[in-house]
């Protein structure tokens, strides 16, 4: 049955629509026209993966941002305005992420955007930001292209990345450069851009320090690989000294457990699990770590780890987060928490919410955040801060494994710098 639109209904709807639209525009004018009179809340629109196997990452973003907003609101907000959060599911789909960004800005009236887990989604959202005239702070998407190509290359000033990009994964080159006994490297990597770039960056960097290393095998695992045993056995056939692996979240847990079953840790000297310092992954292998199954050979990093740095800011953040949510904060939580404080710092320095002025205020700014001092680099809007690599260890102080024996290399050494040379994003 098709609904019939009568003339009366049409008129009524038009009038209502006009009133709603008119009042909406009026509200808009008040916000930006009269700076003296405090208007409604500052709206912060976030999105991340909050469904599917990677759901914990999006949840962590929401949790981190919520905590910061609660803290800031308790102290009076930003520019005397309270903050309001809306968080949406990006489903790791670029089209959904763009739709969400448009909805958040044009319908809901977001003043700032943040979040986004998938690199594909990030690369799709970046180019629409100038048109939406909003800043977006990326809190997990790691592709180097977001900041190198979109900001430094194309000059999209609305993109800021608060989280360490894929440079972090290549930290292995610095961690293992002084281990002369490790010569033969093999890779088990994600069969998509992230895996290609991480592996290529690692190879490029370790070759600089150690021309003698060899890359003896590489196996590629697409999204949704359930069974890594073929990959593991294929690279183990080449008798590597060490393995570099990118699968993350549940897939990383599975890879490590299957590697244990295949006796890999009896034969190799080291395993670098790039994002193995992620809280969900550490939780997934806690039984094995407690039983010392990895024999102290499992190394990892993350885009932030809750036990570094040893500063009052970090301790306060971790304990507030645990108190609020009963969990340890992961890197997407810390990046989102710091994002809200970056918005505060930028808006307060610019004394306005105007996109271009806040962007300008943030460029070159140094922020004290839980992860340490973040420098927002002017050229590419990448936040620069140090995250160490470490050995996955069981500690009596924590209910889940942590990274210990930390190798601290300053971010300036292992981050890439402008002007950027292209990185091969292929196998």
């Amino acid at each position: 049955m098709a609904k019939k639109i009568t003339r009366r209904k049409f008129l009524r709807d038009t009038v209502i629509g006009g009133i709603v639209l008119g009042s909406g525009l009026g509200g808009y004018r008040i916000t930006y026209g009269q700076t003296k009179k405090p208007a409604g809340p500052i709206k912060i629109g976030g999105q991340g993966a909050i469904s599917g196997a990677h759901a914990d990452y999006g949840w962590q973003m929401m949790a981190g941002a919520t905590l910061a907003i609660e803290e800031i609101n308790a102290k009076g907000g930003i520019l005397k305005r309270k903050l309001e959060l809306k968080f949406m599911d990006e489903e790791l789909k670029p089209a959904t992420a763009v739709k969400n960004a448009r909805y958040l800005v044009t319908d809901w009236g977001a003043d700032f955007l943040f979040g986004i887990d998938s690199s594909g989604s990030a690369m799709a959202v970046g180019p629409v930001l100038p048109e939406l005239d909003r800043l977006c702070f990326f809190c997990h998407a790691a592709t180097h292209r977001l900041t190198e190509e979109l900001v430094a290359g194309k000059g999209i000033k609305q993109v800021f990345r608060m989280v360490a990009p894929v440079y972090q994964d290549a930290l292995a080159a610095w961690v293992f450069k002084d281990s002369p006994e490790i010569k033969r490297w093999a890779g088990i990597n994600c069969d998509y851009e992230y895996g290609y770039v991480a592996w290529n960056l690692f190879k490029e960097n370790i070759k600089k320090f150690r021309p003698d290393v060899e890359f003896v095998a590489a196996a590629w695992a697409p999204f949704w690989t359930m069974d890594f045993s073929s990959h593991i056995s294929a690279v183990m056939a080449e008798k590597p000294d060490a393995i570099f692996a990118t699968p993350w979240a549940g897939e990383g847990v599975m890879l490590l457990r299957q590697a244990l079953m295949l006796g890999v840790f009896e034969k190799i000297q080291a395993w670098w699990q790039c994002m193995g310092g992620s809280v969900d992954l550490l939780e997934g292998i806690s039984r094995e770590v407690a039983a010392d199954k990895f024999k102290g050979k499992l190394w990892a990093t993350a885009r932030y780890i809750h036990n570094y740095p040893d500063t009052p800011e970090n301790k306060a953040f971790v304990s507030a987060f645990r108190k609020r949510w009963g969990k340890f904060p992961n890197y997407s939580a810390e990046a989102s928490y710091s994002t809200i404080y970056a918005i505060k710092a930028g808006a307060e320095k610019a004394k306005t919410l105007e996109t271009s002025k806040v962007a300008e205020a943030l460029e070159g700014m140094e922020l004290k955040t839980p992860a340490g001092t973040r420098l927002i680099r002017k050229e590419d809007h990448q936040a620069i801060y140090t995250v160490p690599g470490g050995k996955v260890t069981h500690s009596p102080d924590y209910p889940i494994p942590v990274l210990g024996d930390l190798k601290i290399i300053p971010a300036k050494e292992y981050f890439r710098h402008p002007p950027f040379t292209p990185v091969a994003a292929t196998k």
Partner: protein, 289 residues
């Protein structure tokens, strides 16, 4: 050269154990198509439910591993019973596109249901103690669990062969698969038989999911991720043919494993190339009629 041979042999064994999960999934898929004439996209969801049920009984409640598998087979069999009686029964006689819409709908429903009940985060229960350790094959450790999976898969294949070829129930299944009207005319109760076959297929899928739990992740979508490979297998082996599904699973599992070793750059294409080749040369599949 001897070294290469050893690598290939070990990779064959790894591929063989991978094949067995594929076989358990493909067996039910092809059985339902062969007998009921329905291409059940939601078959992968039953695989996933089997994994979740086992995870709950074994990993959460802490029951015995075998008992957990048995209980999860009963649960998923029960779900299969409900699905068949309330929904699938109504689509046997209608066009394939409608069947696809219904079964695809169930994929979405089950994925969301699982998220509501267990949450979206991936979970892995511990490995049963008695399966820890490995056998030394060609100087490399081969897990006991993989050996167990290979035997379990072969056992299910033999069991299916025995049931279908040697028992009265199997004969009625074969009879109604080849001519539904005639079978009905000689007194076989087709609706009940169809229900039984569907439930049996659901339990096979659940067994595949259940056996994977100690070594694989339990997460929404694990069934869908394997169903594509299961379809490739049934196409290679011949839709509706169990022997074909077994051989197809071996081909797909072992070739994937070889591909990862020998052609890592384009390993993902290999099974599709094989499928395309089979479709060109023998469109009805290797064992199809």
């Amino acid at each position: 050269m001897g070294n290469m041979l050893e690598k290939l042999l070990f990779q064959t064994l790894i591929g063989l154990s991978f094949s067995m999960y594929l076989w358990l999934l493909a067996a039910g898929l092809t059985l339902v198509f062969g007998v009921l004439g329905v291409l059940n996209f939601a078959h992968g969801s039953l695989f996933m439910l089997g994994a979740y049920a086992t995870f709950t009984f074994y990993g959460k409640i802490g029951l015995n591993f075998w008992l957990s598998i048995f209980l999860s087979l009963l649960c998923v069999g029960g779900i299969g019973l409900i699905l068949e009686c309330l929904f699938f029964r109504r689509i046997y006689h209608i066009d394939l596109p409608y069947q696809l819409i219904l079964t695809f709908g169930f994929i979405l429903i089950f994925d969301d249901l699982v998220k509501i009940v267990w949450g979206g985060v991936a979970m892995i229960p511990p490995m049963p103690r008695f399966f820890e350790g490995s056998l030394n094959i060609l100087g490399r450790p081969f897990p006991y669990y993989n050996i167990f999976i290979i035997f379990a898969g072969i056992f299910v294949a033999l069991l299916l062969w025995f049931v279908l070829e040697k028992t009265w129930w199997g004969r009625t299944i074969r009879a109604s698969a080849s001519d539904r009207e005639m079978a009905s005319a000689i007194g076989i109760n087709i609706p009940i038989l169809f229900t039984n076959v569907f439930v049996f297929a659901a339990m096979l899928a659940a067994l595949g999911g259940a056996l994977g739990t100690p070594v694989r992740v339990v997460a929404p979508g694990i069934g869908t991720s394997m169903i594509i490979q299961a379809f490739v297998i049934t196409v290679i082996g011949g839709l509706g043919n169990l022997k074909g599904a077994f051989v197809g699973a071996l081909i797909v599992g072992i070739l994937t494993s070889y591909g990862i070793l020998l052609f890592p750059i384009f390993e993902l294409f290999i099974i599709f190339v094989v499928m395309a080749f089979v479709l060109l040369v023998k469109p009805e599949g290797l064992f199809g009629k």
